[in-house]
Amino acid sequence: MVKFGIEFVPRDVYWRTVYYAIESEKSGFDYVWITDHYNNRNVYVTLTLISNYTNSIKLGTGVTNPYVCNPVFTATAIASLAEVAPNRVVCGIGAGDYVTLSTIGLKFEKPLAYVREAVEIIRTLASGETLNLDGDAFKIKGARLNYKSPSKIPVYIGAQGPAMLKLAGEIGDGVLINASHPKDLKEAVSRIKEGVFKANRKIEELDTAAYTSFSIAEDESKAIEAAIPVVAFIVGGSPNVVLERHDIDLEKAQAIKDALVQGKFGRAFKNVTSDMIEAFSIAGTPKQCIDKIERVLETGITQFVVGSPIGPDIIKSIRMIGEKIIPVF
């Protein structure tokens, strides 16, 4: 049976995100994923609070990265969180994004090495073992935590490009695929399977999650309107090969990229077309969303993550998903 996850960006005051998580648990979601950006509320503070006000929903970073946050600290934080909420914690980690890293003076380099070694560091330290690592990204000499996680912490790798997807298949307990369309997800699952094959594993060992841009409302136009800003940023960050896969007009996509770089968000949003909405989000009425989720699940996805914007009214949308979407699956 497919699992349902939901992503929150903790850009708002802490208790609102905690309340959304409470509503999500009561609506039947299995996972809550909290994004990790330096300019939003801290992911571990948010997850700890959520753990205090929920009973069973799994708690994940969605996702942290090894550049802003050294994986030794990630191991410390995630193992501490697991003490607070045993058997409920998962660690999502990816390479981060170039624009955010450059803003704070960090170089986006050797993403595969950084993520691969970070996963080793987090797993080893969180399990209470001593770590020596002479890696391409990290040098660790005899590091060990003074405690250990009381339960295994599954590590999910956030991935979009072919090499990172393959790495996720090779070493991840799960993978968070940044995509919403079956075409992209099918392609991603193929790459993950290459990694699975390389590591002599089985695909069933992985929780393969579609980390979608999702927007639901009874009124289709309102759902789409809420999705436009998120889709604009996805188009702005997508390479041409991805845009061409969906027959997106490259000139219009470039106009969005240029507008975003100049901080002209209104202009960027006006250039978002229905083709872009269709390619990079799941937006619409409950019935339309069900149809689209069914097509997503045909690609081999085992967890469906409802990502930003969720809907024009977050609380109403969470309840709507709990009443009209999750019971169908």
């Binding site: 708002d12 005051v13 208790w15 609102r16 905690v18 309340y19 409470i22 509503e23 009561k26 006000y53 929920t54 009973n55 977050i314 609380i315």
Partner: protein
Amino acid sequence: MSLNSILDSLPEDAKSQLFEKLLGILFKSKNVDKADPAYIARFLHLAKEGLLRSNECLKTMLYIAVSMEGEETSSVLSERAELIKLRDAVFS
């Protein structure tokens, strides 16, 4: 009359409407710094326990809403005749 007895006397549909309106104030107000953390903790605790529609939760939400958006809360409590007593008790 105490807040509890006024809330007890409200019909369920009025309570339900009041809850949704207060939730709207709590989640749309920009005055988040005016919300008392102790009341917020109480609100979250009651939400966790599935007691959102309880008198205790409505009272807690009222306290938070008044501190964040006094005028709007007063206006919400003036929308239905059954809520007038509540408005008078809260703002007296």
